[in-house]
Symmetry: C2
Subunit: 272 residues, 2 copies
């Protein structure tokens, strides 16, 4: 392997991400509990406001770049001139050498609301329909169970405070990068930015998410060209359909030693 992995782990001890609060339990006893911090982060591309995301606030550069590449607004690393985080106003500005097509033509934008979808653009849906993932890597059920166990036992914001989603990039039996955020789409966007800026190739990777496998999560995974996606949660009909169209191997309801294989069956060696 010619590149060095930057291992990213959750940071449950970071007081900028979790806040201790006072509450009562069901018997009226005063207790101390942890709550996750959410705050707005505005993402600008040059002088255009692209989106304001509610995020825990770590890795703002990865989040901004990942969002822009997953929306297909930025496509090449060398087009990025500078990424500036202006902490005081919760803003990231990504500057490029030339204007993107997005800035030139804002007409193809659709706003979507919320949990099932953040914001997607018509052009992304068109684009992923042209993508067929053709990586021939395989993974065994035993490897998946082992990764699931490692991920579940890793100290995380989830284990400390709950109310947060995680996305973990894996290679063979190793977890390479574990991002968390209040929105599952933010966690995956941070991972996309991390992979893009560190030139990590996707074809031989496995992606685990705690979030549901909605159309949005599938679209992002396909945009990132990762061939295998697994979640401990459920799936939507459109998510499954898009996974099939793009030949993404997708597993839902992964818990312990059980899962449901929804698409891309050939990358799973079930005999192990």
């Amino acid at each position: 392997m010619w590149w060095v992995f930057i291992i990213i782990k959750p940071k449950p001890e970071n007081s900028h991400l979790v806040k201790e609060i006072s509450a009562l339990d069901q018997d009226g006893k005063r207790i101390s509990t942890y709550s996750i911090i959410e705050k707005p982060l505005s993402i600008y591309l040059n002088d255009s406001h692209i989106v304001t995301a509610m995020t825990v606030g770590d890795y703002p550069k990865y989040l901004a770049v990942g969002y822009l590449i997953n929306q297909s607004i930025i496509k090449e690393l060398d087009k990025i001139e500078d990424i500036e985080v202006v902490k005081e106003i919760n803003t990231v500005v990504v500057r490029t050498k030339e204007k993107s097509l997005y800035e030139i033509n804002k007409k193809n934008q659709i706003k979507t609301s919320g949990c099932a979808n953040g914001t997607i653009f018509n052009n992304v849906i068109e684009e992923i329909q042209k993508i067929t993932l053709n990586s021939s890597i395989t993974i065994s059920a035993a490897q998946i169970y082992s990764l699931y166990k490692v991920i579940s036992l890793t100290p995380s914001l989830y284990l400390k405070s709950g109310a947060i989603h995680g996305c973990v990039l894996c290679y063979e039996d190793k977890t390479l990068a574990y991002f968390e955020d209040v929105g599952r789409h933010n966690a995956i966007d941070k991972l996309a930015g991390y992979m893009f800026l560190n030139k990590i190739k996707p074809e031989d990777k496995f992606l685990y998410t705690t979030g549901r496998l909605t159309s949005e999560m599938v679209i992002k995974t396909v945009m990132m060209k990762i061939p295998i996606l697994a979640s401990r949660s459920g799936y939507t009909a459109w998510g499954v359909e898009l996974a099939k169209t793009s030949n993404l191997t997708m597993l839902g309801r992964l818990r312990g030693r059980k899962f449901t294989l929804l698409s891309g069956y050939e990358r799973l060696s079930l005999s192990d």
Copy 2:
């Protein structure tokens, strides 16, 4: 009680909401599984496109009206002239007698991304800071456990397919309306539309949600003037802060006979 409740229940048997799909289990055995259907719904106010939500698609009128009132774009029932669902193009058009402030001044809009937040507007944040919930109703832990049990056992899309959130409006020991959607904010918006169009008063009600208690869920509950909100999930720091500011009674991590009481302690009689 002078008004008649329209009891709304989940519809797990509705084939427009869930789709049966073929998959493999962890041993490679072919199985049949259910996936929730998500599709875009565009909400228009007169000739302005307000938002495109990803939704299961039931109760489009309630969703559209609930979204508009929770964003404080529409405030009075008699201002609504007509609500038209145009199924062929997944669109709802809400028509009003006169233009809203939103249409006159679009400048105060911020777009937010995703799971933690759908789309909120600056004016809503300003507005809820002026609201103090002063209902003096109380609820006992025993009542909460009993409602939780009833809700958990009600046949639902959640029990059938997973990957969906629920919002349940309760009065004393009764569940009055149970809405489900892929986004928790859609489920609560449908409830808001239902209450608004049926003139159901909020001051003596209890709201249960399966979703996390983020700032967005608290903002909507306060906008709807429901004094007690409970969730089986966790909470964010900003969600708790907003609940305290508005004197909303809020409970998180409700499971079985356990919960964490986060704010508005006086509405809970813990001695029962």
